[in-house]
């Protein structure tokens, strides 16, 4: 298959969770891609697989979840098949991640300064190893800083600089424990930690959802200016269309484990094609909007026993006879600029149907 994004190209990604009540088919062939420096927003309602997609890219899916199919091409590597040891030279170094609940994402018994330093030293170590030998797998206990705390002055300096970049005073912050931070401060620490290794891709999994509304804007602005400076690509997971519109160049709309529509911000907002995307946009409140807010009838399907064919068909106002028989392909939309990359998975737009 043709390579689509030079930074990340996820295709046909399938993830299942084996539970006592049955197999949850969480991701059902996810497709998304991005180039260096781009910002892609993954939107969709709770349980549609946004976070699972984010975690899968870093192969952080835990038991009982597992990737059953698909490729995750990151630059020249397929992360879906890399060994755990090689993967550890990519994690944190090339791809960093921030999470929804920043206080819980920090180790409660370690000072925050030390946690950032640990990340910096870990990445230096794996960079050094990668230079020594590209082929040899690093030994199991390598790629990790041997020194504790604040001894490595270079890393400490980087840590303090990073705390400054995220608007925190290092003298007051570096010796604090996570429980002494507010949610906003903790997310700043997480951002400092994630960006301290100058990653090529930052995955932000609902980074502002757990924060106060006023803090949300601050954190988004901070993230915005930092990644602009460093040309870091961002994969932003959010359920808020507004956040995605503010922050991203491209949007992937997810429903029940599938990306149903993908394209540039303009394409998605000005010319939404998939019935689900249309419904989602009609459900966004706006100041000055006078018509009634529309909700999408029906509920999110059970992913243990998902609907056959297109998973949206039971709720779709435009369903056709073929919709419950086969899964629609994820295909480019004709007649639009190439740069919009507009793709949709819906039989309504398939030329040969």
């Amino acid at each position: 298959m043709r390579r689509r994004g030079d930074l990340l190209d996820v295709s046909n990604l399938r993830v299942v969770f084996d539970t006592y009540t049955g197999q949850v088919k969480a991701l059902n062939g996810v497709e998304l891609w991005m180039n260096h420096g781009e910002r892609l927003g993954v939107v969709g309602e709770t349980g549609c697989g946004k976070s699972v997609t984010a975690l899968s890219v870093m192969r952080l899916i835990e038991e009982p979840g597992r990737i059953t199919e698909g490729t995750i091409l990151f630059e020249d590597k397929d992360l879906a098949t890399l060994s755990e040891n090689t993967l550890n030279t990519v994690r944190g170094k090339d791809i960093a991640m921030i999470f929804q609940e920043p206080v819980a994402a920090l180790n409660p018994v370690m000072k925050v300064g030390a946690q950032i330093v640990e990340n910096i030293e870990c990445q230096r170590k794996s960079a050094a190893l990668a230079r020594v030998s590209d082929k040899a797998e690093p030994a199991a206990d390598d790629g990790s800083p041997k020194k504790h705390g604040h001894r490595d002055t270079d890393s400490v300096k980087t840590m303090r600089d990073m705390l400054g970049h995220v608007g925190l005073d290092w003298q007051r912050t570096e010796n604090l424990y996570p429980h002494e931070l507010s949610g906003g401060m903790a997310q700043r620490v997480m951002i400092a930690m994630a960006l301290s290794s100058r990653p090529k891709l930052l995955i932000a999994d609902e980074p502002t959802s757990a924060l106060d509304v006023t803090i949300q804007a601050q954190i988004l602005n901070l993230l915005n200016s930092l990644v602009r400076e460093t040309q870091t690509a961002v994969l932003l997971i959010t359920h808020a269309m507004g956040v995605a519109a503010q922050f991203c160049d491209f949007i992937a709309v997810m429903y029940a484990g599938n990306v149903v529509e993908y394209g540039s911000l303009q394409a998605i907002f000005n010319n939404p094609l998939h019935p689900y995307t249309k419904g989602l946009l009609q459900a966004v409140p706006k100041i000055g909007r006078t018509d009634e807010l529309q909700s999408i009838p029906g509920i999110v399907p059970d992913l243990i026993d998902p609907p056959g064919g297109c998973r949206f068909h039971p709720r779709c106002p435009h369903r056709r006879p073929e919709c419950d028989k086969a899964q629609p392909g994820f295909e480019p939309v004709g007649g639009e600029a190439e740069a919009d990359r507009h793709h949709v998975a819906c039989f309504l737009y398939q030329r040969d149907q």
Partner: protein
């Protein structure tokens, strides 16, 4: 820093607890329906002698004055004289305490080290062989009575195999030099290595029997705690940093998982002290537990209350240490 004031606060609380124990012991020894004078003089002593003895023991004073005498005596290190041997109870206790300390400390070390390792491996290799092994081992440890297991162990390792002695602290023909009273420590101080290794051999079975059930509870708590910690968000963060699994477990998970384990170490130590009574009896271990049992059988009240106070004191000190350790490990406890 905050840890200092935390320790001072806990020390103050500990003094209160000890005071409470003293009051309870005092009240209990006064309300029991046995007359110490009768116990000393027998039932047929003439009234004048009884009165003289009452006066000598201070029992003719008011109950409040008796309490002050009792507390004053304890502050001066005087626990009264044994009714059986007439020796000061303090002297007796100092003779028997080291053996119990040696056994309890070696048991708790055994229990913590083995329990933590088993629990950790169990959680990390969940549902694999080591997990099943550790869980069966734990269930047995909690359900098998120590005295029965002790006898079985003696039967196997002493009677059948002849690998280990059947009791005592060291062989009879050895005459170790005593300084601290702790056999192993004295042996090291004086370079008596034959005594040291002989002592170790005598310590193995009692340590195992006394520490087994604690090992089991610690392993179970450690397993549950580790499984919980491994699903925490900060573990995912550590993995996202690209840390190798070993480092994620040892640096990020272990310390967090140990927090609940530390709490139960203090409780288990209390269990060890009471368990020592049986273990010491089975293994003829010359410790405080056996001393208290013998005192109970002869109604030697000063000895019983003295022993109780010492056990309460050890228990409090251990729990203080546990609380300090707790605060040192978990910064959230200090605020």
């Amino acid at each position: 820093m905050e840890l200092g004031s935390f320790i001072i606060k806990r020390l103050f609380l500990m003094v209160l607890v000890i005071f409470g124990v003293l009051i309870i012991v005092f009240v209990v020894t006064r309300i029991i329906p046995a007359d110490p004078v009768g116990a000393i003089l027998g039932g047929n002593a003439p009234p004048a002698t009884v009165d003289a003895m009452r006066h000598q023991l201070g029992l003719d004073k008011s109950i409040f004055a008796q309490l002050l005498d009792y507390l004053g005596g304890i502050l001066r290190g005087n626990l009264g004289n044994s009714l059986v041997s007439s020796r000061p109870v303090m002297t007796d206790i100092m003779e028997f305490l080291p053996a119990t300390l040696e056994l309890a400390v070696s048991s708790i070390i055994f229990a913590v080290v083995l329990g933590v390792i088993l629990g950790l491996l169990s959680a990390v290799f969940r549902n694999r062989f080591i997990d099943h092994f550790s869980r069966v081992f734990s269930i047995l440890g909690i359900s098998l009575p120590g005295f029965w297991l002790g006898l079985i162990m003696i039967l196997i390792f002493y009677y059948r195999l002849g690998w280990l002695p059947n009791g005592g602290q060291y062989d009879m023909f050895l005459f170790p030099t005593r300084t601290t009273g702790l056999i192993l420590l004295d042996a090291v101080i004086h370079g008596e290595w034959n005594v040291f290794f002989n002592g170790i051999k005598h310590l193995i079975l009692p340590t195992f029997i006394l520490g087994y059930s604690s090992t089991a509870s610690i392993a179970r708590i450690m397993r549950a705690s580790m499984l919980d910690v491994l699903h925490q968000n900060y573990i995912r963060t550590a993995r996202a940093k690209g840390l190798p699994r070993k480092m994620v477990i040892l640096r990020h998970a272990l310390k967090n998982a140990l927090i609940p384990v530390i709490t139960i170490i203090g409780l288990e130590f209390g269990g060890l002290l009471s368990g020592a009574v049986l273990t010491e009896t089975i293994f003829s271990w010359p410790g405080l537990g056996r001393y208290i049992v013998n005192s109970l059988l002869t109604l030697d009240y000063p000895a019983i209350s003295g022993g109780t106070i010492f056990i309460a004191l050890i228990y409090s000190v251990v729990n203080l240490a546990v609380d300090i350790l707790y605060a040192a490990v978990d910064p959230r406890m200090r605020s």
